[in-house]
């Protein structure tokens, strides 16, 4: 039988979890989350600076490139606590871009960019196209030879997270008939290449990116031989980070609802005394604990051939199912207040929808697991 993964927890994960728990709670109270929703950038630059100073951006970057040489296993607890407090920054985007360079960048790209990404330069991935296909190898955008060692890009990318803050965008294109990845420095973007999109999760920022007319040197391409493997790696990394953020969000949605159920009274007693409220909350809680166990198994086994993919897909599938359920019930159990903008339940439900829409939802990952397991 296949190894489906196991829970492991390093000392470093432990200390990062502890620090992140306090930091994210202090830096991201809900009033601030709501204030930043109205802000054009959506991020607090002071928090970003502190995240960089804490070394979190370099956690999964090798020491040779200015990181601390740990792995995504150690990023997971940070991401989880960010999710728990709806703390939005370009952290996940930058981490994914760094992963793309680690897995498939050229030596020159790694040397030029990884030390910067480790210390606070934001970057992101542009992988989604008009059709919204979760298969990252389905690419219509193109890179074509423009002579004199130059390439010219064309096509449209969508849902590019944190693109306005990013100093580098790594995008997928067809190059000589196969998918490839290209690093676009923000300085190479023509005016108006980015357009902010209206997205379901208002704590985040996403942009449409027009590649038309972007002109780059040939060495902007990542290692073309590694493109397929790099896309697969980024896909799993993105799902691991999403599962972490979702587990944190689920925990918060349950806490919020439990608190309300303890205090809100109807027909003479707290609504949490009614089993119609209590039992579904317990179902959400038990599923949350299961999803969190999957998360820390996926984090621990991430790099293992075969097992890593199974564990990550299970983690995203369970996190998606329970985040959707817990946040859906959070709205319902807040009653009339739950129907309002002011109730925080909607923030979690919207975020759950965002994450289900990116890099595959529960059913899609189960479909992939069926092929791996059955």
């Amino acid at each position: 039988m296949q190894d489906l993964g196991r829970v492991g927890f390093s000392e470093e994960q432990g200390s990062l979890l502890e620090v992140a728990t306090t930091f994210c709670r202090e830096q991201s109270p809900i009033a601030k989350v709501r204030r930043l929703m109205e802000d054009e950038t959506g991020h607090d630059p002071a928090v970003w600076t502190q995240i960089a100073e804490l070394g979190w951006l370099g956690v999964a970057i090798p020491e040779d490139f200015g990181g601390s040489g740990l792995g995504l296993a150690e990023v997971a607890p940070i991401m989880e606590q960010m999710g728990r407090n709806l703390l939005s920054t370009a952290f996940a985007s930058t981490t994914l871009a760094a992963q793309a360079l680690i897995a498939g960048g050229t030596d020159a790209q790694r040397q030029a960019w990884l030390p910067k990404l480790a210390t606070g330069t934001a970057a992101t991935m542009a992988l989604v196209e008009a059709g919204g296909d979760w298969n990252l190898e389905v690419v219509a955008c193109e890179a074509q030879e423009a002579g004199a060692g130059r390439i010219r890009l064309s096509g449209q990318k969508f849902l590019v997270s944190d693109a306005a803050a990013a100093e580098a965008i790594i995008t997928s294109v067809m190059w000589r008939g196969k998918p490839a990845l290209v690093l676009i420095p923000a300085t190479a973007l023509p005016d108006g290449a980015l357009r902010r999109e209206t997205i379901i999760d208002e704590t985040r920022r996403a942009y449409a990116l027009s590649l038309d007319g972007i002109d780059l040197a040939l060495d902007a391409l990542l290692d073309t031989d590694l493109a397929s493997a790099t896309l697969a790696h980024v896909h799993l990394a993105a799902n691991l980070l999403a599962a972490a953020e979702m587990c944190g969000g689920t925990q918060a949605a349950i806490d919020l609802t439990v608190e309300y159920a303890k205090t809100r009274k109807q027909f003479g007693q707290p609504i949490g005394a009614y089993q119609g409220v209590k039992h579904p909350l317990v179902d959400a809680y038990v599923q949350y604990e299961q999803a969190r166990s999957h998360l820390y198994a996926a984090a621990h086994c991430f790099g293992e051939q075969g097992t890593g993919e199974i564990a990550v897909r299970m983690a995203k599938a369970t996190a998606d199912a329970v985040f959707a359920f817990a946040s859906d019930r959070a709205i319902q159990f807040h009653g009339g207040f739950g129907f309002t903008w002011d109730c925080d339940a909607q923030l979690y439900r919207r975020r759950a929808i965002w994450h289900a829409s990116q890099y595959g939802d529960a059913a899609w990952h189960r479909r992939k697991l069926a092929d791996l397991l059955l």
Binding site: I254, K278, Y285
Partner: protein, 402 residues
């Protein structure tokens, strides 16, 4: 506990593995029960009693219990290796479940020296079978309302009343009994006591209960002026509720001290996969059907969830918000999973799902249907799933009492 030498542990594991490979009898020529609640015939009972005795004699049950009480005085890690070997070779279940998982750990924990001397060795060797007397005909999940009466008379208690769902009641030598010693106590919980009760004294009568599966395995137990020794009292008079709740924690796996082994073998999702490969839908293996594949994966994720949750429980830093959360959830997770996965398995058997144990056309001799029906013993016994929801909601999430 002193440091374990990994070499000693590995050597022990290897010997245990060899022993189980040598000694496990998978097919004794009759259907073995999947859980200790399904022991319906004398043949099954004697086979399993002999098996537990043999495992104990070889040192692979109760290995972590003190030597003075029938154990081997080893670290729990050794017993865990033995249990793994038992499972690896498909060993039959341990019969004396209430003894090794409830009464034994309880007595080790808070029993008197006399209790330990008198009872523990018989428990682990399967010489003395134990049963549990908590539920009553009128009080299923509401144990605090138990009415079976115990009146102190000199060195004895005199018992009157009735207990129900007594697993192995017909075979048991002792019962852990929750009974009412003080009907006038202000809170109903304060009038209860916990007594180790011999089943062989006059005035104790057991009547078999036939289960929904058509089989036997439970009894109802009647007490009519049954006189039992007062030294069987665990804790003080009036502390029975607290002791009973502690006992349930051993059952739910929230406390250690269990003798090891296992008392049920669930059909897991992986066995269902193997079965689904043999079943057909429209001329193709059932496992080719996309909907069946999706549900199958859901069950595989879920069984992996439970395994991972047990692993995560060993990491205190990942259990800080609700330290009791996982332990109190395991019973609900496992029993509801067992019910649903067997129900799903039955649905895979097509028209043959209509057969039952005894018909030669039944898929795998009808074990799937029988396992589904028997799975309700898990979702109902030891506090129904609905009560588990209340327990988790109130004791873990801190929601107000229903």
């Amino acid at each position: 506990m002193s440091e374990i030498d990994p070499k000693d542990l590995a050597a022990y594991a290897e010997t245990a593995d060899a022993w189980f490979r040598e000694n496990v009898v998978r097919d004794p020529g009759f259907m073995l029960p999947l859980t200790f609640m399904e022991v319906g015939t004398d043949q099954q009972f004697h086979f399993l009693q002999d098996w537990q005795h043999k495992v104990w004699e070889a040192g692979y049950l109760g290995a972590a219990w003190p030597q003075a009480y029938g154990g081997r005085g080893l670290d729990q890690a050794f017993q865990n290796e033995a249990t793994k070997a038992m499972r690896r070779h498909g060993g039959p279940i341990m019969l004396n479940a209430i003894g090794i998982n409830w009464a034994g750990p309880l007595l080790l924990d808070i029993g008197s020296e006399a209790h330990k001397q008198t009872y523990l060795k018989g428990i682990v060797s399967a010489e003395d079978i134990w049963c549990q007397g908590f539920s009553e005909p009128e009080h299923g999940s509401d144990l605090g309302s138990a009415q079976t009466r115990a009146v102190r008379d000199g060195d004895s208690y005199v018992l009157n009343g009735s207990k129900i769902w007594t697993t192995l009641g017909r075979h048991a030598k002792y019962m852990i009994l929750l009974c009412r010693t003080d009907p006038s106590a202000g809170r109903k919980y304060d009038g209860l006591s916990f007594i180790l009760t011999p089943m062989t004294v006059p005035g104790v009568r057991t009547v078999p209960i036939r289960k929904l599966t058509g089989e036997h395995g439970f009894t109802q137990t009647f007490f009519t002026d049954a006189r039992v020794p007062a030294e069987g009292l665990v804790g003080k008079e009036g502390e029975g509720w607290r002791v009973a709740m502690r006992t349930l924690e051993y059952e739910r796996g929230a406390r250690g001290g269990q003798a090891g082994g296992y008392v049920s073998v669930g059909s897991d999702a992986f066995e269902v996969v193997e079965m689904a490969k043999r079943m057909e839908r429209a001329g193709a293996p059932a496992l080719d059907d996309p909907l069946i594949r999706d549900r199958m994966v859901e069950f595989m994720i879920e069984i992996q969830s439970m395994s991972l949750c047990r692993q995560r429980l060993a990491v205190p830093a990942l259990n800080t918000d609700h330290p009791a959360g996982l332990p109190l959830s395991f019973k609900l997770m496992a029993t509801e999973f067992g019910r649903r996965v067997n129900e799903f398995a039955v649905s895979l058997t097509g028209a043959r799902g209509a057969y039952y144990v005894g018909d030669e056309r039944a898929v795998d001799d009808g074990i799937w249907t029988r396992a589904y029906l028997n799975a309700f013993s898990g979702t109902i016994g030891g506090g129904t799933s609905q009560i588990q929801h209340n327990i988790i909601g109130e004791h873990v999430l801190g929601l107000p009492k229903s």
